[in-house]
Amino acid sequence: MAEEPRQHSPAPPGVRREGPPGGPRRGKRQYFRKKKVCRFCVERVDFIDYKKVEMLQPFVQDRGKILPRRMTGTCSRHQRWLGEAIKRARNIALLPFATEL
């Protein structure tokens, strides 16, 4: 395997954390923020209950918005279920739709 001459700025954006780069991601601060695994996958959760506000709260911003996957490290399947649960909770006034800061 030939050793290719390494440049200082890493070209392919990978799963590692990046500071403010000049290259691949202009302007954007982070690529994949957390290496952590999906919380639900670890716990092997099969059903995200919309009634359990305590479980949903950590995935919601102060303003009431749903946090993106790259912030929480959730896997796509659970993120989908999470979104559904949050929206149901919002409909029954267990979670707000939007709050003013």
Partner: protein, 132 residues
């Protein structure tokens, strides 16, 4: 006929007298049984702060029901009653049987996986060490 499972939550105005709520729940139960349904659980969660104002109220009295039904019509009728009832300010019905079926699928799949290879609770540490 397949039996369906539903979650029904509704919120009453916080100043509603206890008896009225009990009467309402009884009416709903009766409506359900008339249409071949069963009320499995009734929970009164009491007064809670609402996440946003509903009908000018900041708090509400939450009631939670679990229902089994063989016809979907029952839910329509229950929701109609709730819509018409004065003390009720919000309601939500969720159908759960498909969800539960999916859950069962995962549980079964995991059980099958666990049964296939002898797993220790500490995980597959030894296998990884052996491979490297």
């Amino acid at each position: 006929m397949e039996e369906r499972l539903y979650d029904l939550i509704f919120i009453c105005r916080p100043d509603t007298p206890e008896e009225e709520i009990t009467k309402l729940v009884a009416t709903l139960e009766q409506t359900a049984t008339e249409r071949g349904g069963k009320v499995e659980k009734v929970e009164k969660w009491g007064t809670r702060k609402l996440a946003y104002r509903v009908h000018k109220h900041r708090e509400g009295f939450y009631i939670y029901l679990v229902l089994r039904a063989t016809q979907g019509e029952m839910i329509k009728e229950l929701e109609r009653r709730l819509k018409v009832a004065d003390p009720v300010i919000k309601y939500l019905t969720v159908r759960l049987d498909e969800e539960l079926k999916r859950q069962q699928k995962f549980v079964r799949r995991r059980e099958r996986k666990a049964a296939r290879r002898p797993r220790k609770s500490a995980g597959t540490g030894e296998q990884v060490a052996a491979a490297s």
